[in-house]
Assembly symmetry: C2
Homo-oligomer: 141 residues x 2
């Protein structure tokens, strides 16, 4: 499958630019959206949970969380364990999630025009497998 990475990667920049543009209407970027997305799907969470999910370091999430707090999109809630900070979406945050979710899904449908359902599903299924293969390969070291 020579050239697969080349094709995969050349889509990245146009796509992430498009998403960032879409999200900038709400003062967001894709990296901030990831946190909102996680909180919407998983409910109140700690920073470590989010960092683990996205395979990024803790300071990265600290930064994202601070920005979202300033924007009143998320807020901390009390925790038993006083080391950790549990955050959840505010009402504003939930509203923004819904609005952006619709826009992103619209975009997803739009860029899929002219592509058969079979191809879409094949690609959809392939990503986690590739990720798992890379993860397993990293493990092996």
């Amino acid at each position: 499958m020579e050239g697969f990475f080349q094709r995969y990667l050349s889509l990245y920049r146009p796509l992430i630019s498009k998403l960032n543009e879409l999200l900038s209407d709400h003062g967001l970027s894709y990296s901030l959206w990831q946190v909102i997305f996680y909180l919407n799907n998983n409910g109140p969470s700690t920073l470590v949970e989010i960092a683990n999910y996205y395979n990024v370091e803790k300071p990265t999430i600290t930064r994202r969380v601070h920005r979202l707090e300033e924007m009143q999109i998320i807020k901390p809630i009390p925790s038993e364990d006083r080391r950790e900070k549990i955050i959840q979406l505010t009402d504003l945050g939930k509203e923004i999630y819904r609005t952006c979710r619709i826009k992103i899904t619209d975009l997803e449908n739009h860029v899929m025009e002219g592509i058969t359902k079979e191809e879409q599903l094949a690609a959809y299924h392939i990503f986690p497998k590739l990720q798992e293969n890379i993860r397993a390969d990293n493990e092996r070291e």
Copy 2:
């Protein structure tokens, strides 16, 4: 196709890290590799050609080219038009291309393990189409 972008994008970081790691053996990163790759496939080229191909700005390519020149991987050749700078791979550059090409193709094959040929091809074909749809959508503005 809700969730497609999410899946596509979560593969990016692991993959680009893996490639950068692989290329770091030769003092390279994926962004530098792109220039080598282009020169290998297209022969001597100007910076503008490369910038257009990868949809990045000219200063981005200026920087990459300077680094590759320092590493003696590429060299300028005389041009009729004295505004432009034509660069090509050196012998060392061609050698590095071959070595890395093999390693990258090996990695491509390896991360494809357990994925059917049909799925691979479907994904392979879908990327340019998605890119074209995004491009067309941007055009429309």
